[in-house]
Symmetry: C2
Amino acid sequence: MVDAYSGHMVSATVRLTGPLDSRENFDNAACPIAGAIDVVGARSAFLLLREAFYGTSRFDDFAERVGISQPVAAARLRELVADGLLAREPYQEPGQRTRMQYRLTEKGTEFFPVLAALMEWGNRWVRPAPLEFRHRDCGEPVHTELRCARDHHVAASDLDLVLTKG
Amino acid sequence: MVDAYSGHMVSATVRLTGPLDSRENFDNAACPIAGAIDVVGARSAFLLLREAFYGTSRFDDFAERVGISQPVAAARLRELVADGLLAREPYQEPGQRTRMQYRLTEKGTEFFPVLAALMEWGNRWVRPAPLEFRHRDCGEPVHTELRCARDHHVAASDLDLVLTKG
DNA sequence: CATCTGACTTGCGTATGGTTTAGTCAGAGC
DNA sequence: GCTCTGACTAAACCATACGCAAGTCAGATG
């Protein structure tokens, strides 16, 4: 982990393999991370999704619990629906009038690991809070990790980034 | 997974336990997710960190490979250094003059699961790319997942969010 | 018919993240 | 001492993310 020339610690980097090694075949415009951020990059989008995972479903609750204004909540919820992370649908409790609710789609649900990783990192490095995820069945704390198909725990420095086609 | 009243699918939500159940004891201002976003919320910050994990260390390379202008690269790198995710340090290759490099700190290195989760989600739902992380030792694909201390695989709907103090 | 509530919209101003173009500055090599 | 390169900075500008205050509108409830 110590660089031969500088004597400084070297970062734990991913290794880019094959055609990616020269960096010429890495297409920045095609990067899925950039794509993801273009969809959910706004602060309010992250926090609205957090709220959705906490069970919030109604417009006013979203705005209030996230702490954003109604115009922003409306704009962002509309985007999240348009991008397929949330579904907007009418519902009716008995004896109540029809209302609207926002529900996580499969695309939205699968975003959870991002939020969990962000929460874990934020809790450790930015804003420690007395909050923790626990597995309901066994009560043990839960954290995000990288695993390979053979179930090995993997660090960033043990990763290769490979081109699977082309 | 089907709501008793609406007949619609119900989202896979985390369960807020104890004092959090009523939502009155959930302090939005203290949320670690919000804290994390306040630090690395900008698109350019995510992409600069991605580049750092891909081994980039020099200013011009960051700007070019991320595809951002130099003023933005300078501003964001300065912030990431100020926030402790990157370290800016001089280095010197033999026979070369002293230059600057940006290196991931421990705080920055631990951000990797967020990027990995974002990449996995983006690759599946937004911008499929022929890119994959593989475990260098065994060659198997790697993905992010939630595990409890007893090594159970956990979904969002199997999670409790608990207050550990207060 | 009047009121209430949920779910927004409209209009306005500010802050931030981004762009382009151009320039600075220091050290190594010639 | 001139040039080249790496690492930025400066100025002017545009787009969007956000805020606040107020208004709209439709469907129960009384």
